[in-house]
């Protein structure tokens, strides 16, 4: 009895010190790699902050204001686990969300599973989150790697190209991208062969020799999954050395504003890319989002902004549907919930907890000295999900209960 009392004392002291939690707010625990990957997470933070403002201006959720407690996961799983623990036990958040790197998300998902906490993954794209390492507490918002590379492979299968070279950073993201693309393409086109695979360490691409090695293999087409600083090096060396001349290039993520911007007028024209043609999407919902974002921050949204914004909309929808903040109610509500976003309606699939977040595929062109996506098309995520029996075989039994 005494110990409980002492504990209560200590806890109330902590609460007093930390300013106390308002009784009429719902606390969300959020984390991302703010210090280690600011390139992508800063826009994300602006996105969710804008959404929280909008939601609270609209009257909040379940009659309460939405309050987000944000932490830096420093890009390391162990720091993320500590942050998760602290958010849950110290801040008493009702659910966890966010993360940027897939491995951090995997760790937090495991935490959510053991501690029975609802966790909505934000930006990470690794499919292991919803498949092998999926669990019943974890949902994933952004589109799956599988959906993007499947769609791309289906387009690539229509090309005459038979000899393909690939380049991807040597970690799970790059490996699963190449594997997914290869499998789908091989399925559709058994005559295709992969003549060269490059696996630079993330951030350490030695572009000159790598491009040379790819040229030496004489491929008909190239599949690329590098991004960020590596992508810039790859594009510049590839352009100068003529790797891309007369070759189709299929590339994921390259059309995202955060990666197109640094390339400027050197954006590789003619590449087929996935991306986010933010300045060209003119649906009323998206235009409203873009205007509000520009007014708030004086710049165009990036894909991180869209994810951050959508993340809070999804959380509102789940909370509203659940009518409570209990974890079990949240899981039940999240399965199959539908909600509106700047890029159209979305849902969480019950069978694998994956959202139907769509993606854009188009060609790159340089317009007014800037890389732009042209001839792009929106692909609804719902149409590119793996078949249910496959999902069932991939996901642990526990995760489906």
């Amino acid at each position: 009895m005494k110990t409980t009392f002492l504990k209560a004392m200590a806890v109330s002291a902590m609460v007093l010190l930390s300013g106390g939690a308002g009784a009429d707010s719902i606390k969300i625990g959020e984390m991302s790699s703010y210090s280690s990957s600011p390139q992508s997470t800063e826009a994300y933070r602006k996105g969710w902050q804008l959404a929280v403002e909008h939601i609270n201006a609209d009257g909040g959720v379940l009659g309460k204001t939405l309050e987000v407690v944000s932490r830096d996961d420093t890009g390391k799983p162990d720091a993320a686990l500590r942050a998760a623990q602290e958010l849950v036990t110290n801040e008493n958040v009702v659910l966890l969300t966010g993360t940027y790197l897939s491995n951090v998300a995997v760790a937090v998902a495991d935490f959510a599973n053991t501690n029975k906490v609802f966790f909505l993954v934000g930006q990470p794209q690794s499919d292991t989150l919803i498949w092998e390492k999926g669990n019943r507490y974890t949902f994933r918002l952004f589109n799956s790697m599988h959906s993007q590379v499947t769609a791309m492979a289906q387009m690539a299968a229509k090309l005459p190209a038979k000899r393909w070279a690939t380049i991807a950073p040597n970690y799970e993201y790059g490996q699963s991208a190449v594997k997914g693309f290869q499998e789908e393409l091989k399925r559709l086109r058994p005559d295709v062969e992969f003549v060269n695979e490059q696996w630079p360490t993330l951030g350490k691409l030695e572009a000159g020799s790598t491009v040379q090695a790819m040229i030496a293999a004489e491929p008909d087409a190239v599949f690329n999954a590098t991004f960020g600083a590596d992508l810039a090096k790859f594009v510049r060396e590839g352009n100068t050395r003529g790797l891309f001349e007369g070759r189709e290039v299929y590339s994921i993520l390259t059309g995202l504003p955060e990666y197109l911007e640094p390339l400027g007028d050197e954006a590789p024209e003619g590449w087929t890319v996935t991306g986010y043609p933010v300045e060209q999407i003119e649906t009323p919902e998206h235009a409203a989002f873009r205007t509000a974002y520009e007014e708030a921050y004086g710049e165009l949204p990036k894909v991180g902004s869209l994810i951050g914004y959508t993340e809070m909309l999804a959380i509102r929808a789940i909370l509203e549907k659940a009518g409570s903040t209990e974890t079990e109610a949240l899981i039940a509500a999240a399965r199959g919930v539908t909600f509106d976003t700047p890029i159209g309606p979305m849902a969480f699939r019950a069978q694998d907890h994956q959202s139907t977040f769509g993606f854009y595929i188009g060609k790159l062109a340089v317009v007014d000295g800037m890389g732009r996506m042209v001839d792009w098309q929106f692909y609804d995520g719902a149409d590119f999900q793996p078949p249910d029996d496959l999902v069932k075989s991939l996901r642990p039994e526990e995760a489906t209960k």
């Binding site: 995997v106 390492k133 960020g228």
Partner: protein, 617 residues
């Protein structure tokens, strides 16, 4: 296979890359040669060079003159900043042991990262192509960018300039003399301070220049510093610490091997460079062209105080402390219980490092290797073999000890910085393998889902387990420290000559210490794995090692109870900083480390004992 033209083009690519590596590494080698500073912040000057060059070339007209002028201006600015750092901070640690220098410069890395982010923001920026060198030249049918060809010549040009400087000017001869014998130059009546500052200027100028020259190839980004610095160190070590010609040879070797590695073993490129380093050091323990290292006695850091056996009062105090820790969960909120559990586990890890560092004077700069071996062994035993936790912990200790056995065999042949860098190389190899061998290690997603036995499921139960393990491990390591083995290990640190003269096989004793230390680090890894329920490649990372080093330092290198106190203070400080000051924690943590090393080099326990203890000075 490949035709000759491809191979030749690849050679040119390798040489072009070598130039960048050489510029960075030669500055590092020069600084090390003269000042003996192990400058971990060298990569930060490289990154700074890239960012400043972007700003400057943007302001200047986009002509060839504008670009090259901007590059030189940027390098000069970086050199000036280097001088400023030397005068304000590094000058104070020339006499300090290597590990202190590594930590201070690592603190600088954190500060620079944060400041550059504040100044230039998060976006990656690619400079425009260099006017006049936009295109490619065709050599035997292969197109090579003109800029890369130009870069090939930069390396040899600067090698020539440095040679001229060090052989044909009075001032340069002083630099060379100082490389061989610092004290002698001081006795010649040369103003040593000015000489060192000037050397630091040249060294950081070269780093800044390399960074600035990189911007037409690579967008300036906030990961540049870490990406280059380990490689630069590897090159300096391969070439021989302090040797500029050696750095050049090593840069060419690494650049070319890298280029052909991309052609023939694209999957293995990232470990190739470390394998080259291990091979070179096995056959040439002082690098390709390095002279014999004169061991330096550390200065006034009270490093020579004997370890005194605890008095009765101290034993009682320790018992009281353990009892207090045992009662703590009754009052602590859950979150702090979790943090304290981590403190205990980290204390074991820091203790194992302390054993090598403080007792034997061995800077294990890749200590995370044993921690990671332990955590992965535990995770693999649990998930692959389905064995219970006890088996996992045992396997972890065996794996850690095995790592110590293997790496110790190589490392005990070397001394000082070479040894430190070789331990780092092993840790980096494991780090890379853990990311790439997805089928075994789960890649960067690691292995999750370790479950503890049900009686250990509550946080409180695990708190007690960690506390018990920390007490037990600390006690065992202390026994070893006070036992003849620990003294024989220390004897090798104090005087190799005397040890050899009285029949102590120092290399063998050190080897044993690697095994012992590895086993305890492995234990810490396993406990952390079960604490988190998961393991990740970051267990092998440099930052894991640095954290442990800082803990040992904060506690006090020469204090037997240092690791625990250090783990407690450092872990709390860093966790709270990250939690509350998301945007500035690196800046503050970096400053904290720097100020701590400069202000309280003897650590918390040491400072306390100086003030209140009765120890003889």
């Amino acid at each position: 296979m490949y035709d000759a033209s491809t191979l030749f083009a690849q050679l040119l690519n390798g040489l072009s890359y070598s130039s960048t590596l050489f510029l960075v590494a030669s500055g590092l080698a020069l600084i090390f040669g003269v000042t003996k500073i192990v400058n971990f912040a060298h990569g930060s000057f490289y990154m700074l060079g890239a960012y400043i060059a972007l700003t400057v070339t943007n302001a200047l007209p986009t002509t060839g003159f504008g670009f090259w002028g901007g590059v030189v201006i940027a390098a000069l600015v970086v050199g000036a900043i280097g001088c400023l750092i030397e005068v304000t901070i590094l000058r104070r640690i020339y006499q300090a042991p290597e590990v202190f220098q590594i930590l201070v410069t690592f603190g600088l890395v954190l500060v620079f990262q944060n400041l550059i982010y504040e100044f230039w923001g998060p976006d990656e920026v690619l400079a425009p192509r260099v006017p006049g060198l936009k295109g490619a030249v065709t050599i035997f049918g292969e197109r090579i960018p003109q800029y890369n060809i130009a870069l090939i010549f930069v390396g040899p040009v600067f090698l020539g300039l440095l040679w001229w400087l060090t052989h044909r000017t009075r001032w340069g001869r002083l630099i060379r003399a100082a490389t061989q014998d610092r004290e002698m130059v001081a006795s010649l009546g040369v103003n040593q301070k000015t000489l060192f500052t000037a050397v630091f200027f040249i060294g950081t100028f070269l780093a800044g220049l390399a960074g600035a020259l990189q911007i037409p190839k690579e967008s300036a980004n906030l990961q540049m510093d870490i990406n280059i610095v380990v490689e630069a160190f590897v090159i300096v070590v391969i070439g021989g610490m302090g040797s500029i010609m050696g750095a050049f040879l090593a840069a060419v070797l690494v650049g070319v091997i890298n280029a052909f590695g991309v052609l023939f073993f694209p999957q293995a490129v990232s470990v190739l460079i470390f394998l080259v380093m291990v091979l070179v050091l096995v056959f040439r323990p002082n690098g390709l062209l390095g002279g014999r290292m004169v061991a330096q006695r550390p200065g006034d850091l009270s490093i020579d105080q004997p370890f005194r056996l605890p008095t009765r009062a101290m034993k009682q105090a320790m018992l009281a402390a353990v009892l207090a820790l045992a009662l703590l969960p009754l009052v602590l909120p859950l979150y702090f219980e979790v943090i304290m559990t981590e403190v205990f586990i980290l204390a074991i890890f820091a203790g194992s490092l302390h054993f090598l560092l403080s007792v034997g004077g061995i800077v294990s700069f890749g200590h995370a290797a044993y921690f990671g071996l332990g955590s992965y062994a535990a995770a693999l035993v649990a998930t692959r073999l389905g064995l219970p936790m006890a088996a996992g912990v045992l396997a972890a200790m065996v794996a850690g000890a095995g790592g110590g056995l293997l790496f110790g065999w190589f490392c005990t042949r070397l001394k000082g910085v070479y040894l430190a860098m070789l331990t780092l190389a092993f840790a980096q190899i494991l780090f890379t393998l853990s990311i790439q061998m997805v089928s075994v290690t789960g890649g960067d997603n690691g292995i999750v889902g370790l479950t503890r036995p049900s009686w250990l499921n509550s946080h409180m139960a695990y708190y007690y387990l960690a506390l018990a393990a920390a007490v037990l491990a600390t006690r065992l390591m202390r026994r070893a420290l006070y036992a003849p083995f620990g003294f024989a290990f220390r004897a090798g640190r104090d005087s190799l000559a005397r040890s050899a003269a009285i029949g102590i096989d120092t290399a063998r004793i050190q080897w044993g210490a690697f095994v012992l230390s590895g086993a305890f680090a492995g234990l810490a890894g396993a406990l952390m794995a079960y604490h988190r329920g998961s393991v990740f490649p970051t267990d092998f990372s440099v930052s894991t090692t640095v954290d442990a080093l800082v803990m040992v330092l904060v506690g006090g290198v020469q204090s037997v109870s240092g690791p625990l106190i250090g783990a407690l203070s450092y872990h709390f400080v860093s966790v709270e900083l990250i939690r509350n000051l998301a945007d500035y924690w690196r800046l503050i943590l970096g400053l904290f480390i720097i100020v701590f090393v400069l202000g309280v080099p003897q650590g918390i326990v040491g400072a306390f004992m100086n003030r209140f203890g009765k120890g003889e000075r």
